[in-house]
Amino acid sequence: MKISINRHLMQRLGFTGITLMAVATVLPIVAVVIYILAQGLPAISTEFLTGFPHDGMRAGGILPAIVGTLYLTIGTAIFSVPLGIAAAIYLSEYASDTPLTRTIRIAIINLAGIPSVVYGLFGLGLFVLFLKFGTSILAASMTLSIMTLPVIISTAEEALRSVPQAFRTVSISLGATRWQTIRRIVLKEALPGILTGVILGLERAAGETAPILFTGAAFFLPRLPGSPFDATMALPYHLFVISTQVPEMPIKIQYGTALVLLVFVLTMNLIATVIRSRARSKRQW
């Protein structure tokens, strides 16, 4: 009898301990978001969101950084979305379990693990210097695309695989070709899952700094970039600059910039979560 009391006491202690650990993991996340919201909101004004920085960035707005991050995110999407989805289609619909396929999978896992600053080096070596794009939106977007690719491929492949095999069998038996089946049936059913993966991948790209440090980020620009071959300011790099490189930087502007970046990223995260949960509740198979 004594043993069994100890066992149950043990369980209660253990469960409490694990619960506390989970709370200790999650609470700081909530605290970080609330703290930045509270500290950053006073800095937000029309001038801050639509103006250019002046007085050595110690006053004015962050418009060029916001626009730059938008450009970089769109640029990343242009390269990584079609390529990523096509690669996912290949892995899910065409590839069989050969050594080549396994090599592709290992390559994807490795791409996902390569440090972001190494992507920066690669981008500098290939896009900026070898292909002579210069420090530009184009070079930075392409660097970010390759970094985003593994996220998009693996989530899109998972979404494609979750479409029941019967859908494909029926479509083929009705006389559709393989590509018609993929385009009209499989892709359509997997769309919400793919979209979630795409947004989560782009969210990461939008928040990254290290890959754009030497491929496209500019310390300060007095005007908006006019072509893909121009360098650009970007929110994460701007936050890095004003929090470490500019002396006597007003704290309000720093928190304001952090807040705008956070809202940018959180909005994408929220959209992805909503798409996923709506698709799950609507799914009939």
């Binding site: 066992r7 043990m10 369980q11 253990g14 469960f15 301990g17 694990i18 650990m21 989970a22 993991t25 999650v26 996340i29 909530v30 970080v32 703290y35 930045i36 079609p82 390529l83 096509a86 690669a87 290949y90 892995l91 065409y94 090599t103 592709i104 390559a107 994807i108 490795n110 693990g113 390569i114 440090p115 972001s116 600053v117 190494v118 920066g120 080096l121 690669f122 500098l124 491929i153 590509w179 989560l200 969210e203 928040g207 990254e208 700094t209 290290a210 440090l213 030497f214 994460p236 790099y237 936050l239 890095f240 929090s243 720093q254 952090a258 970046l261 990223v265 959180l266 995260n269 979560t273």
Partner: protein
């Protein structure tokens, strides 16, 4: 009509196939460019001085040992935080939490994974490092420990999601069998579920550590960036400089093609090989576990 359909189908299939192979191409390209720009370092700097304990590029001291130890100590600290908290949270989410709690916790952990590292570094400078300086009574709050705490946070989502997948994959029958034998839920978790998910949990740890060693911005902002050899445990409380931070901080200022430039690429090559090793090890653990499971079940 029939013919053009076939042609389109053929071209599209080829395009898709090429995209499929692109991942291999990119890994190869990345490795090639790191080699191309990094290997000249070996001929320009003597191998013995590369392993010198002094990193002072202005006077041509290119010892990468302080950077290696800096990365190791920060990553070790991050692992000591991320592994218990990550696995604890994964166990809680997968085994203990009621359904509604799970629906709240999972997106929150995912959110942490999406937080830009520069935002964490920013808060590290303004909030965490002053706290550490006062709390531990140190001359500066920008220490390896500060980096470790934040990196721990960055590695946690990776550990949680991989470990949770592994725990979820353990068949329900295992747990029911243990309960039927009179084990409590706690005993079941420790003696049945976790051991059954061992390989997945191991993968989670490796990928988490891999994530930590490659993190750049947070570390550069909060560890103080002093290239000193970190070999004692006390180094945790003093400034260090990691490999990633060195590349990020110095690449912008070097002349293309200089020795310094080549050495920075060489460090990038070392980082690439470390992440390659970690990831191949992690996927081979999974692969072997899968093979073993197939053997037992057949």
């Amino acid at each position: 009509m029939e013919k053009s359909l076939n042609w389109r189908e053929f071209i599209i299939t080829r395009l898709i196939q090429t995209s499929g192979y692109s991942a291999i191409l990119f890994v190869a390209l990345i490795f090639f460019f790191l080699l191309r720009e990094g290997l000249p370092a070996l001929s320009e700097v003597e191998t013995s001085s590369l392993f010198n304990p002094r990193w002072y590029p202005i006077e041509d001291y290119f010892g990468i040992l302080p950077l290696l130890t800096g990365s190791l100590i920060v990553t070790l600290g991050a692992g000591l935080i991320a592994v218990p908290f990550g696995i604890g949270t994964a166990v809680y989410i997968s085994e203990i939490a009621p359904r509604w709690m799970r629906e709240i916790l999972k997106p929150l952990v995912e959110l942490l994974g999406g937080l830009p590292s520069v935002v964490l570094g920013f808060l590290g400078i303004l909030v965490l490092s002053p706290f550490i300086r006062v709390f531990l009574d140190l001359p500066t709050g920008l220490t390896a420990l500060t980096g470790s705490i934040l990196l721990g946070g960055i590695a946690v989502p990776t550990v949680v999601s991989v470990a949770e997948d592994a725990l979820d994959a353990v068949p329900r029958a295992y747990r029911e069998g243990a309960w039927a034998l009179g084990a409590t839920r706690w005993q079941t978790i420790w003696r049945v579920t976790l051991p059954a998910a061992k390989s997945g949990v191991l993968t989670a740890i490796m990928l988490g550590v891999g994530r930590a060693i490659g993190e750049t911005m947070t570390v550069m902002m909060v560890t103080g960036n002093a290239p000193v050899l970190a070999v004692k445990l006390g180094s945790l409380f003093s400034p260090v400089r990691t490999m990633t931070a060195t590349i990020a901080a110095e690449m912008g200022e070097v002349a293309n093609g200089s020795t310094h430039y080549h050495v920075l690429f060489f460090i990038g090559m070392v980082l690439f090989l470390i992440s390659l090793g970690v990831n191949i090890a992690a996927s081979s653990v999974v692969f072997r576990a899968k093979k073993r499971a197939e053997r037992i079940l057949s």
